[in-house]
């Protein structure tokens, strides 16, 4: 049997391994291998090499598809996330517009419903007792319109903003009222209970103590008789019987009560707490004790608490009067020191007092 060369041998081996040989050829090849042991080992090596080759090839193949699958898996998982991001990108503008509309509508609704003005009002539960005339004014305007439609008669009614009370401190025309009454005033008029109206100048104001000193500056004004009441400098005692006269409406209204605390709103030592029913318009009214001494000036009341009104102590008034610069005065302020009320019954006291108490009209 002749020896095959390398190439021929490999071909035979391949064909043998692939099972392409006929039975006769197979027997021959096996015999050939037996005859030549070195060729047999070569065949074994070849077969082993081929199987390694196949395994490696399959493994490479698998590796390739594995990395492809991994790539596919990771990219699909990433794209899911980017879709959410793109959704946000797409809706960003809409979200911004919606948020802007929401904000605008919230605040405009709050503004329209008067939330902010209520808020400002309720930040303090102290309410100053000047009388807001806007409702009155509106009524008057309506009347005017009615009158005008009847006749062409011109009725020149000035617009009045606030009403309050004031009282004389000297007979030559000095009047005291609250600072909060005359703030922002164009002009101030005082009207007595007979209906006479006088123009008044603001001489001095003290916003901390909520006091304002006015002086009647009107040619029709005549000096009054001596002031019947005096000013009590010492603090009054709790439980003292007190009363006031004020103008919560256009008629004088009497109010009676007692001194309920030695300090005012939030512990203010320059005020008393008094228990007298007071209303807007009572501001600036005198608080008198049973002997007819002025012990305070009504200034305000506490919201939500019944019967808690406040009066500025006379002491604060006197301090204010002393602090007025001499140039702004025309003639000294001489307080009366003769009390002509003490012996009188209450009704007579009131009759005498009425001439000295004015409606303060602020325009």
């Amino acid at each position: 049997m002749r020896k095959l060369n390398q190439q021929e041998f490999i071909e035979w081996a391949d064909a043998y391994l692939r099972g392409e040989l006929s039975d006769e050829q197979r027997v021959w090849f096996e015999g050939y291998c037996k005859e030549h042991p070195d060729e047999a080992t070569k065949f074994e090596e070849h077969a082993a090499f081929l199987s390694t080759f196949k395994a490696a090839e399959a493994r490479l193949d698998f590796k390739k598809s594995l990395s492809e699958t991994a790539h596919h898996y990771h990219t699909t998982h990433r794209t899911e996330r980017t879709r959410v991001v793109s959704l946000w990108d797409r809706l960003k503008l809409n979200a911004a517009v919606a948020a802007a509309i929401a904000i605008v509508s919230v605040f405009s609704t709050l503004w329209l419903t008067g939330y902010y003005s209520n808020l400002r009002k309720t930040t303090s539960d102290y309410s100053a007792l000047r009388r807001d005339m806007n409702t009155v004014k509106r009524n008057v305007n309506a009347h005017n319109a009615a009158i005008k439609s009847i006749s062409s008669h011109k009725d020149n009614v000035e617009t009045m903003h606030y009403g309050a009370t004031g009282f004389m401190i000297t007979k030559n025309g000095y009047v005291v009222t609250n600072y909060h009454v005359i703030t922002g005033a164009d002009s101030v008029h005082l009207q007595n209970h007979k209906g006479q109206s006088f123009k008044a100048d603001i001489i001095f104001t003290n916003p901390e103590k909520d006091l304002a000193i006015l002086r009647i500056n009107d040619s029709t004004f005549r000096s009054l008789k001596n002031i019947p009441y005096t000013f009590k400098k010492q603090d009054s005692d709790l439980g003292e019987d007190i009363y006031t006269i004020g103008f919560p409406r256009d008629e004088a209204v009497y109010g009676q009560g007692y001194l309920s605390s030695a300090t005012g709103y939030a512990g203010d030592t320059l005020a008393y707490q008094i228990s007298i029913p007071v209303n807007p318009g009572n501001s600036g009214g005198p608080v008198l004790d049973k002997d007819g001494n002025v012990i305070g000036i009504i200034s305000g009341k506490q919201k939500g608490i019944d019967g808690a009104a406040f009066a500025i102590k006379t002491k604060a008034l006197l301090e204010t009067l002393n602090s007025i610069p001499a140039d702004s005065l025309q003639g000294n302020i001489v307080l009366s020191n003769k009390n002509s009320l003490s012996a009188l019954p209450r009704t007579d006291q009131i009759k005498k007092l009425q001439d000295y108490i004015y409606i303060v009209k602020v325009y």
């Binding site: 390398q6 190439q7 490999i10 071909e11 391949d14 692939r18 090499f49 081929l50 390694t52 080759f53 196949k54 395994a55 490696a56 090839e57 399959a58 493994r59 490479l60 193949d61 698998f62 590796k63 598809s65 594995l66 990395s67 492809e68 699958t69 991994a70 596919h72 898996y73 990771h74």
Partner: protein
């Protein structure tokens, strides 16, 4: 009970799919088992990319185990994969310094199986690495000729026609030369 059965069926399907190089099986493997393993790696100072690498290597370990000898899954596939990837990750963390102690075994059988699989994988890897490198270095058209002949079992006549050789003898000579070159590349290293 039925759920367990279906689980083991899924495992078997995947294993058979892997052995036959089925892409769907790989995809399934990713869907089912990648998230917990990625979580394990990321929770243990790993990055996302490292988690992906570890999982790929784990799949290769499984592949080597499946293609090599008769592999029988003793526990759930998930347990096996988890153990293998944990082993691989620990190894990478300690950078082969073998700080990994075998007494740190939480579940003996699973970890023994994993250990065995990883060792097997390393041996196979070492064996086949030469061949893979040789194949990569072989170049065309030798690669395709050998691939067509030995893997796809094409006849020499087909190959002759495909590569445009004038006759089968020429093609046979070419194939023989290619084989010799591959052997040379393989045994040289």
């Amino acid at each position: 009970m039925s759920k367990e059965k279906s689980d083991s069926n899924v495992d078997l399907d995947i294993i058979h799919g892997l052995a036959s190089g089925d892409n769907l099986a790989i995809m399934k493997l990713y869907k089912l088992y990648f998230p917990p393993i990625a979580k394990m790696v990321i929770n243990n100072q790993g990055s996302k990319e490292e988690a992906q690498d570890i999982f790929q290597e784990t799949v290769m370990v499984l592949y080597d185990r499946v293609t090599n000898s008769n592999f029988e899954l003793q526990s759930k596939l998930q347990t096996f994969l988890y153990a293998v990837s944990k082993r691989l990750w620990l190894k990478q963390l300690t950078r082969g310094e073998s700080k990994y102690h075998k007494d740190q075994i939480d579940n003996h059988e699973d970890y023994l199986a994993a250990e065995e699989a990883v060792e097997n994988h390393e041996i196979v890897e070492a064996n086949l690495l030469h061949m893979e490198e040789a194949l990569v270095g072989l170049g065309e058209p030798c690669k395709t000729i050998l691939y067509d002949f030995y893997i796809k079992n094409r006849s020499m006549a087909d190959i002759c026609e495909k590569f445009g050789y004038t006759n089968t003898d020429n093609a046979k000579t070419q194939k023989y030369k290619c084989l010799q070159r591959l052997k040379k590349l393989f045994f040289k290293k």
